[in-house]
């Protein structure tokens, strides 16, 4: 069974630990290079002889293309992105969603993942529900979403955390390596939305909090090399401490129950 993360991975490039070192941190308006050797890609622009950065981020040169990898800023939706959003309103023909993007987004009736009662859409998805949805298209007036597809639809239980959407590739890792490591060590179901909204569900409260801590560790350390190794180490040490703590708590509960 293909996980949500594997589907997501197809849509964007992975961070490569080695290449990252060669990237320079640039500010808006800064000249990255001069001359005609390169073409401007995402968030870069040609100004006369120069190619300048349009955003604060890392200047990435690959082949003949220079693009900026943003370090900050709101999520910019792209077709095919799997995101997590909240239902904020219900109209006669669908659900208005909040996916933390610059444009409003809408999930039409026809794109619901299950059978819908046309007279009461809230039976399907209600205001305040969290959904895993896919971006079908981005237009001037708004974003079109779908909940039809593998592993899309309403999220039940669990908790939601929000991270900087620019850190999502790090949290997922090369071919899902990072997020799979965290899922395994925390024993939790985790869905990472491209918009930086993450859903975690575990059997125990402690497991969910552990997964959250691990994800925050990765986002805070996203700059360093060998992050996967460092995360493995951190997970092992923290897990040992956590297991000791959980054992103590379980024993205490058992004692009190007697």
């Amino acid at each position: 069974m293909m996980s949500r993360e594997e589907e997501t991975r197809e849509e964007f490039e992975q961070e490569d630990d080695e290449r990252k070192e060669k990237r320079e941190l640039v500010i808006p308006g800064e000249v990255i290079t001069t001359g005609n050797d390169y073409l401007p890609g995402d968030w870069a622009k040609r100004e006369g002889q120069d190619i300048i950065a349009l955003r604060f981020g890392l200047a990435d040169k690959s082949g003949r293309l220079i693009k900026i990898i943003p370090l900050s800023g709101t999520y910019m939706p792209r077709k095919g992105n799997v995101v997590i959003g909240k239902v904020v309103d219900i109209t006669f023909n669908g659900w208005l969603m909040d996916i933390d993007a610059p444009y409003s987004s809408f999930l039409p009736l026809s794109e619901c993942s299950k059978f819908v009662n046309k007279n009461d859409l809230s039976e399907c998805y209600d205001i305040g529900d969290m959904l895993a949805i896919k971006v079908l298209g981005v237009k001037r007036k708004g974003i079109d979403l779908t909940a039809r597809g593998k592993n899309l639809g309403k999220l039940e239980d669990g908790m939601i955390i929000k991270i900087n959407s620019n850190k999502v590739p790090r949290v997922i890792g090369k071919e899902g390596s990072m997020i799979n490591l965290i899922k395994k060590e925390s024993n939790c179901d985790i869905t990472v939305g491209q918009n930086g909204i993450i859903w975690i569900r575990g059997e125990k409260v402690e497991d969910e909090l552990f997964a959250e801590k691990a994800i925050l560790f990765v986002t805070e350390k996203s700059f360093i090399e060998g992050l996967t190794e460092k995360t493995k180490e951190w997970l092992e040490t923290t897990k040992q401490q956590k297991d000791i703590k959980d054992d103590k708590a379980d024993k205490k509960k058992a004692k009190e129950a007697k």
Binding site: D129, L155, D157, G158, M159, L209, E212
Partner: protein
Amino acid sequence: MEIANLTKKRIKDYLEAGKRFDGRDLLDHRELEIETGISINAEGSARVRLGKTEVVAGVKMDVSEPYTDHEGEGTMITTLELLPLSSEEFDYGPPKIDAIEIARIVDRGIRESGMIDFEKLCIKEGEKVWTIFIDVYTMNDDGNLLDASALAAIAALMTARMPKYDEEKEKVAFGEFTKDPLPITKNIPLTFTFHKIGKSIILDPGREEEAASEARVSIAMSSDGKEAKINAMQKGNEASLTQEEMFNIIDLAEKKYKDSSKEIFDRIEKNLKGKK
């Protein structure tokens, strides 16, 4: 804006298991930072950080006529602005009920505790008295603006200095300060707001916990050194509380006050940052 249904449910589940998202105990507050003297043109000022929540408060003074039913007493006005800078949910415009309620709760705590000796703020009975303006501004909203604001207000008052008064011109010499503190008594109020979520009672909610809060009770307490007294209370939000729950909260407030007042007042005295 409402938080997700599943988050609300999770928060309740966690609290029932005695846990919070950031690992705190239910009645623990986040890391507290207090700095005073943070704005040099103010008679007194303070910045309070509770975790990532940040508010600043400033004290300015002027002279005016007293109220007709309190001719020998100074006056005090407390305002609060929920600055749009501090949250995408705050709008521009005249203060709405959220800001008004917090300002009034903060004001009552200070007024009813007797923290300020208003009689000492009289310059000429029936004609001229000092007016204290306490203005509080939110700088980052991550939950519990109320307790942070109340604390910032008293910290600013405790460390304020009286401005120079020009007797001849009968005006305040703005920009010139004396070394005299405001007439502050020992009865300094501390405010604790308890939130009920499901069956649990917590202190110092983070942003999501605050959105999941069903009922809240703010209690301002002060002590003259002998006995701690409750000076102001406010129950807010829509759910109801049983008498038992309320009695429990009242006891918790007293305990919290006894346990933390000395440390908080010490911190305020020690963190004078500005030139005064």
